[in-house]
């Protein structure tokens, strides 16, 4: 029996790595992948608490999070393709059409 704290520690570690990736990387694809890492950290916490409280509601919410991740990946990659076609760049800090 593994203490629930360990799942929280693993979840927060994965979340922190994801946040570092979102904040520091320039490549848009790697930023999208870091968001997937963050969503997985959330899922680990949900499943950990679901097992602690002996209720499957947390796992159901994890399924909804995975659904969101699928929608987000489809939209994000569609946006990325549209962007790359117009701007020929993968770097997030070069996409400054609305800045002046």
């Amino acid at each position: 029996m593994i203490p629930t704290e360990y799942y929280i520690f693993l979840g927060s570690g994965l979340f922190t790595i994801g946040v570092i990736g979102v904040l520091t990387r320039r490549n848009v694809l790697v930023i999208l992948m870091s968001i997937e890492l963050i969503l997985n950290a959330v899922n680990i916490n949900l499943v950990g608490f679901s097992q602690y409280f002996r209720a499957v509601d947390g796992q159901v919410f994890a399924i909804f999070v995975i659904t969101d991740a699928a929608a987000e990946a489809a939209i994000g990659l569609g946006l990325f393709i549209a962007l790359f076609r117009n701007k020929e760049t993968v770097n997030a800090d070069e996409i400054d059409l609305l800045k002046w």
Partner: protein, 169 residues
């Protein structure tokens, strides 16, 4: 003891490959390491008797979303990006923000030595068939969220098609 060792191995694999995801120069390598992370997280689900979620993780995440990522990475010419700087100029500020986040998380998790302070664990028996239990909760208690999720997926599908189209007429 054995579950603890398995959990340790799985979490080390997940964390190390997550660090590799955000540090690799080539986006294809990042995708491959992300797949390793997702498999390790799936193993952690399996250890918690969430077998249905494990199957969803493998089929949907690794089989669906990651293939989509790999497809886009292959579609885009990354030769130029590989030779450019990989990190933003404000990375010091970003790391400072992350340190603040880590401090907050550590403060909450430490909680003056009391740990998480969870309410008492209910003494219910563990549901025997995980997939059956998930299905019942999903289609009885969470009927409306399921419908909302289906509309979300429809909107995402239409949006992806429109955005990837060459020209709107």
């Amino acid at each position: 003891m054995l579950p603890l060792i398995a959990f340790g191995i799985l979490s080390v694999v997940a964390l190390v490959s997550a660090i590799l995801v955000i540090t690799r120069r080539n986006a294809v390598h990042s995708v491959i390491w992300l797949i390793v992370t997702l498999f390790a997280v799936g193993g952690i689900y399996l250890m918690q008797h969430a077998e249905f979620l494990f199957a969803v993780q493998i089929i949907l995440y690794v089989g669906g979303i990651m293939v989509l990522f790999l497809f886009v990475v292959m579609l885009v010419n990354l030769d130029v990006a590989v030779r450019q700087a990989q990190f933003r100029r404000q990375w010091q500020l970003a790391l400072f923000t992350v340190l603040l986040l880590v401090g907050q998380l550590a403060y909450v998790l430490y909680n003056r030595g009391r740990g998480l302070d969870l309410p008492a664990r209910p003494s219910l028996p563990e549901p025997l068939r995980n997939t059956q239990a998930v299905g019942q909760v999903l289609y009885q208690n969470y009927m409306l969220p399921v419908e909302i999720a289906s509309i979300l997926l429809l909107v995402a599908m239409v949006g992806a098609v429109i955005m990837a189209k060459r020209k709107l007429e």
